[in-house]
Assembly symmetry: C2
Homo-oligomer: 496 residues x 2
């Protein structure tokens, strides 16, 4: 029997987690249906709910209970992992004193507001003073966390999003990719010159695009009794495992971006939905960090849905919903459309070959700024130099450079690396899945996704946070994270 301390903690965290679920309803509502006049009140509601959650997380008795539970010898390994996550949450909640939290929150709002203007004007100087206020606060909060977590300053920021990988490990992985990708990018672009494609001609009605998206969501196992598809300006996956809400935005002349967006978010949704039911509302029952989460969306979008096998299955269906008998709708053409590689300035529009280069750039720059080896005012110059070196094209202005992403300006430092970690994990998992279940490619070609999804559920989703990210990856694939799989995937998809 677990101790009274442990059981009290379970009750307590169940309460916290239930209230957190409410926050995700509020976010979904804000992004999809809320009339614009409701935004200030909504901001106050979210702030009040967070304050309530913060009060709950920082109540003094929690620490005593965690201390007691950590010495409880009767706990199962799931319960032990649960206590470990409780400790991590508690440290993150209590590491910062209230004044710093308020100062950070204000600086983030001010900086994000200035960023919107700076981006639309293409003028970094507009946001520079606000960013120079924000970064020292980010550094201060990172230092406070770092001391408690006993890690480096930048690693404390990484830790907020993904605790599985140190900055040294990431630097090594990224340096490996940095020596490989620019050359590959050249080769692929050269290679694709001999494989032209036709862009299917719209307009495609929102209604038809939605139906098509829902059709593939159903194929993947998305359960509409426990979820929805809606429209928002920035696609996301929100809600709670019993009620998963994904969103997309429809472009009348380009069905691919919305369709691939839906499939990407469906990968996130399947992860949330597959989390261990017995540990629902407990810290150990949550998804691993953002790297593993992104691996699940990229596995579905990039590994599965941009594969030739998937396109063979999907082409007749896409044609049925949107197309005519023309050559643009043939599977070979759609495959070329879905795997086009090109140099681009904008990260969110990048293909999977060049995407990591966007991330490597950001990782190196944000780490340098946090470690004070790069001045904030030098950011545009450093960005443009490094970008040209990595991508071979020169940034025309900061809208296409260091002003393009919201992350740094609303306080999300340390987030960027998770995108590429996710891509690496996705490749490694998918190749392992195929080794373990060789029928998977043919199953996909037949529109039968359940062997793969069941494998993901069993191996990844249902383990929650029982293991650290890399420990889990090694258990499932017999190897620590290795860029070999990603490079192998890119070579075989884009050069053969």
């Amino acid at each position: 029997m677990p101790s009274h301390a442990y059981l009290t903690l379970e009750n307590y965290f169940q309460r916290i987690s239930t209230l957190s679920g409410i926050e995700s309803v509020l976010h979904w509502d804000s992004a999809t249906v809320m009339p614009e006049g409701g935004s200030q009140t909504r901001g106050e509601q979210i702030a009040e709910l967070r304050a309530t959650l913060h009060d709950l997380m920082t109540t003094p008795k929690i620490e005593e209970l965690i201390d007691a539970a950590e010495t409880d010898k009767s706990l199962t390994k799931w319960q032990c992992a649960n206590v470990k996550e409780m400790r991590r949450k508690w440290i993150n909640a209590t590491a910062l004193d209230a004044d710093l939290v308020i100062a950070l929150s204000k600086a983030e709002v001010a900086c994000e507001t200035a960023w919107r203007e700076a981006r639309s004007m293409g003028n970094f100087k507009i946001v520079l003073p606000k960013l120079e206020c924000l970064v020292p606060l980010i550094r201060e909060s990172a230092t406070a966390r770092a001391n408690k977590l006993k890690v480096g300053t930048y690693d404390a920021l990484l830790n907020t999003y993904e605790s599985g990988y140190s900055s040294n490990k990431i630097a090594a992985l990224f340096s490996n990719l940095e020596t490989f990708l620019p050359g590959l990018l050249n080769d692929v672009i050269e290679h694709q010159k001999s494989r032209p494609f036709i862009i299917p001609k719209g307009p495609f009605s929102e209604e038809k695009q939605r139906e098509l998206g829902k059709r593939f969501m159903l194929d993947l196992g998305f359960d509409f009794k426990h979820g929805r598809l809606d429209v928002s300006q920035h696609p996301f996956c929100g809600g709670v495992p019993e009620d998963i809400r994904i969103t997309t935005r429809f472009n009348k002349n380009d069905f691919t971006s919305s369709l691939m967006g839906i499939l990407h978010e469906s990968g996130h949704a399947l992860y949330e939905r597959g989390l261990p039911k017995n540990w629902r509302l407990q810290p150990v029952g949550e998804p691993l960090g953002m790297a593993m989460h992104e691996s699940q969306s990229l596995l579905i979008e990039m590994q599965v849905c941009r594969s030739r096998d998937f396109v063979e299955f999907a082409a007749p269906i896409i044609r049925e919903f949107l197309g005519d008998g023309g050559p643009a709708w043939h599977s070979e053409n759609l495959y070329r459309l879905h795997t086009e590689v090109k140099r681009s300035f904008i990260r969110v529009e990048a293909d999977e070959v060049s995407y990591p280069l966007h991330v490597i750039l950001r990782f190196q720059l944000e780490k340098a700024i946090i470690e004070d080896s790069l001045k904030i005012s030098d950011l545009p110059l450093a960005w443009n130099e490094k970008f040209e070196k990595l991508m071979g094209i020169s940034v025309p202005n900061d809208q296409y450079g260091c002003l393009q992403d919201i992350h740094w300006y609303d306080g999300a430092w340390g987030y960027f690396p998770t995108y590429t970690l996710g891509a690496l994990i996705a490749s490694q998992l998918f190749q392992s899945a195929i080794i373990q279940i060789p029928s998977i490619p043919q199953d996909i070609r037949n529109g039968n996704f359940s062997p793969l999804i069941a494998w993901l559920e069993r191996n990844i989703h249902q383990t929650g946070k029982l293991l650290e990210s890399e420990e889990l990856l090694e258990r499932v694939t017999s190897k620590p994270l290795d860029p070999f799989f990603f490079k192998n995937h890119l070579r075989s998809r884009y050069l053969s």
Copy 2:
């Protein structure tokens, strides 16, 4: 300067009110967009939020602060009224001990579940044992509140929904109506025999009905930057003043029910939207009880939108959205359609002449049960006898009788009288408004609602809870609540 105690209370209630606003978002979501598989989790979220609110309301320091604020001589009349409402909220929150709250909540769920089966089977016996468990708990909670509020037991229940009217006052008003309405009902039905009408033929698309509803909402001043119209099984008005959400349900063959429903809910919405902005999130800034709230919806629906003036304005618009050139769409025919009176068994389908009879029946029976002068097992018999006496038709089975409404079975005892109090208040307000602004009927005929709405805002909406309901009514109309106005309205609309 107000005391520290008072200012602390304002902060504290602002926090409580903000969290309550979240609850209304959750309710809206559950009723309109939530997938069915999300309902259990949603129930847990709402329960957790309520528990959090209850903890906040019952924290011991609140009572000390209210005690102190009540002796603060520096407060303005608004601040004094605010403290009075805080006291009332505090009493209601603390009157019941936790065990009783839990027992009540369980008994309500069990009774409501049994009621759904009982109603569908038309068999009162199925729900009787659950109701016999629930009623003593309702009585116990009423007694606990009554002792603290120093009112009678049934009055303590009324007080939950509307604090402005005692059961004695209501009994007197209803007895007045009871002597008048059955005769009037006969006369009106006789009178309408010579005024036949044609039912406009559907189907009417949901899209067109929605557009029509929105058109009239805009005419009434509903601001879609601060609100929405959606579909739910049971129409309601929810949200917060900055983001008001009303709902309706569309019937393909009957556009009137949905349209009138939209106009009714718009009346509720205008009230919420017009509440005093300076007192937003404070108890004194909330709407008065359910009687005044219902008066605002009935004023818009019954006094304004079923009037001949409105129909003259609306008929060409309705025709444009839904109709053809046929006689069913002429204003005289639409007016007859919108003012049809008939005897019916079902309250929610009743017209405004017979509606109070449904309410009087329920008021007398629920009061008798709470005061233990009627046995619960005798309810169907008592219902059917009284119904036939009031309405002149005999109930074929309990589906059409005492099983038709959810209220008693989910614990809402003391709610019914507010419907008819609302109807009386609406008549009195509307007739006063016309005396004060004689152009109102012609304005309505011209589709200009702003003189009336501005009058309501100034006189009712913007006063929040500064005065008690009847005090406010007397200030605005120079008379306490008097059934004369309602009777006058019915006679002039239905017999001339």
